[in-house]
């Protein structure tokens, strides 16, 4: 299943990545090399085989462990600022982003 330029543009949009027009051909070539490798999987007969999502479930069923419903104390402003210290832009304790029109 060869990738077209349209596919690449679509995937880039979904992935929030920029691909410039002059980057397109080289990227298309490389991605198609990868897809060629991956194609090998298509010819494998996996009828009746369940996907293995958690590696250890081959050993025994893995169940989701649950947490008791206990709440943490609300953070102080200082604690909050500590957690937000890497934010590129903040105001009044909020993360700032360019406005999204809805």
């Amino acid at each position: 299943m060869a990738l077209t330029e349209t596919d690449i543009a679509f995937v880039a949009k979904l992935a929030r990545l920029h691909v410039t027009p002059d980057q397109q051909p080289a990227l298309k070539h490389e991605l198609n090399l990868v897809m060629g490798l991956i194609e090998q999987l298509q010819s494998i007969d996996t009828k009746g085989i369940e996907p293995l999502a958690h590696p250890l479930s081959v050993l025994h069923d893995i169940e989701l462990r649950l947490r008791e419903d206990e709440r943490l104390a609300t953070n102080t402003i200082a604690q909050r600022d500590h957690l937000m210290q890497n934010a590129p832009a903040t105001a009044d304790g909020l993360f700032l982003v360019p406005r999204v029109i809805e």
Binding site: F10, L72, N75, A89, A91, L94, V97, P98, R99
Partner: protein
């Protein structure tokens, strides 16, 4: 052209837990921005989700209440899309295998009982909030502020089959669902705070056509009134559009309450490829029959069971039973009053709880748990009506006094104000004679066939008795004297 409307509703119900669905941050409403968001909620590098048991238990409770199948094994999946209020840029939700499947919800539409089918309900995390006022970059470009306090709040997304055929039906379903989740204690039902939000999927088709028309989704409606208006608007808009030769576009819309219209949302991704896949950070959720049985045992009596009981055991009409069972606390209050009265007086209790009590609570914007009259106190008052000591009218006056001063006892007031009903036939007879004698003109009118004249005479007797005469006896005696 005859149009048929097809509506399906998705409700996003915030589950009443102490902590969030995948982190231990508090879920309390109204905190200072971003003070209830830890590294998991902020999706800091290296953070991981851990599921809250209580959220699952609430989902089980809901599933049992609507007679649905609770999945013994369900999977959390990532719904991938970019949005600033979604810190991981994927939402942990459930896709192919949700926690609850099927189920039904009975409601009342215009007095008629209707049952709607549900498709499924699944657990997922809520997003943060965007705040749009007055933020800007130094060079003046408008910004939004993101508050992640709400991000990670547990949600149960409840999806109905597209079976509603009118805005009224949709609202009835929404109300019934709201009442149920509050009844079960799994949601606080506070719509202003966003605890219960509805997305309405609306489409129209020519009557008789089997295929569905193109539907639009109107998101995040947080009041029943707005829901009714949004759906009505959408129906009108779609019909007009089609009749004008246009086509309905499948899109997401928002209801604008100020303009009373829905409009298209421009910002959501046009390419909705969510690339769902099972979340590798969360193994399958297993719900054992033992756990389900345990939740079942701890369930409160369901509204429909209680309604049934009120009808069968207490002799209420199904409408009265339905109305009383909208709110678990009101139903409890009513039942306590009814049980404190002699047999067969449940209707009296129902009338008063739905009437005087409800009106007084509404006037003061109080909930039933703030009612100044205990169930016992009200029952004592109503007992005096049923044993003929006082009339309904007098009882209402006494009620007002008791409401204002909850230390007062019905009997005490009756005694102090001398409100005992006059039931002595000779005394009433004397008053009737007096009125007949003093109102020859009205008597004449009655004899001429005017029923209104009779009521007027009754009124005169009651006036003479200062309202304390037993109305039934007044009626009987007056009739006797007049008809001879």
């Amino acid at each position: 052209m005859n149009w048929e409307v097809v509506i399906g509703l998705e409700a996003h119900v915030q589950l009443a837990t102490q902590s969030k669905i995948f982190s231990s941050s508090s879920t309390q409403y109204g905190a200072t921005p971003n003070t209830q968001a830890n590294e998991v909620d902020m999706a800091l590098p290296g953070s991981l989700p851990v599921l809250n048991r209580q959220a699952v238990e609430h989902a089980i409770r809901f599933g049992l209440a609507i007679g649905a199948t609770v999945s013994p094994r369900s999977i959390f999946a990532r719904k991938n899309y970019f949005y600033p209020d979604l810190p991981k840029n994927y939402q942990i939700s459930q896709y192919e295998i949700p926690v609850v499947l099927g189920g039904t919800l009975p409601c009342f539409v215009d007095g008629k009982a209707l049952t709607f089918n549900l498709t499924r309900a699944h657990l997922e995390e809520d997003a943060g909030k965007s705040i749009h006022e007055n933020f800007a970059t130094p060079d003046g470009r408008p910004c939004s502020g993101i508050d992640l306090n709400r991000s990670g709040t547990p949600l149960l997304e409840i999806v109905s089959e597209p079976e509603m055929r009118s805005a009224a039906q949709a609202v009835a379903y929404a109300r019934a669902l709201h009442a149920l989740v509050v009844w079960l204690g799994i949601c606080d039902g506070n719509m202003q705070e966003g605890s219960f939000r509805i997305d309405a999927n609306v489409s129209v088709r020519p009557k008789g056509q089997a295929a569905f028309g193109t539907r639009t989704e109107t998101k995040n409606v947080n009041s029943f009134r707005f829901l009714e208006r949004a759906i009505s608007y959408e129906i009108r808009r779609q019909i007009e559009l089609i009749e004008d030769g246009g086509k309905v576009v499948q899109e997401t819309r928002l209801y604008d309450a100020d303009r009373d219209e829905t409009r298209s949302m421009r910002s959501k991704e046009d390419a909705h490829d969510y690339r769902y896949f099972p979340d590798p950070d969360l193994p399958p959720l297993i719900i054992t029959p033992a756990w389900i049985a345990q939740v079942k045992d701890s369930m409160p009596e369901l509204p429909k069971e209680r309604r049934h009981r009120f009808v069968e055991d207490l002799g209420l009409s199904s409408e009265d039973a339905a109305q009383l069972c909208q709110d678990r606390q009101i139903a409890q209050y009513f039942e306590a009053v009814a049980n404190a009265l002699p047999n067969g007086q449940a209707k009296l209790a129902a009338n008063w709880v739905m009437g005087e009590v409800a009106a007084a609570l509404n006037r003061e914007e109080k909930d039933i748990d703030a009612c100044p009259l205990s169930a016992g106190a009200l029952a004592k008052l109503l007992a005096r009506i049923s044993d003929g000591t006082i009339s309904n009218k007098i009882a209402r006056e006494i009620f007002t006094d008791m409401w204002a001063n909850s230390t007062l006892d019905a009997d005490a007031i009756i005694e102090a104000k001398g409100l005992k009903q006059i039931s002595d036939s000779s005394a009433i007879g004397a008053m009737v004679d007096e009125v007949i004698a003093s109102q020859p003109a009205i008597v004449q009118e009655y004899r001429a066939g005017k029923q209104k004249a009779f009521n007027s005479l009754v009124g005169q007797v009651m006036k003479l008795a200062k309202g304390k005469a037993n109305p039934a006896q007044v009626n009987d005696l007056l009739k006797q004297r007049l008809d001879g």
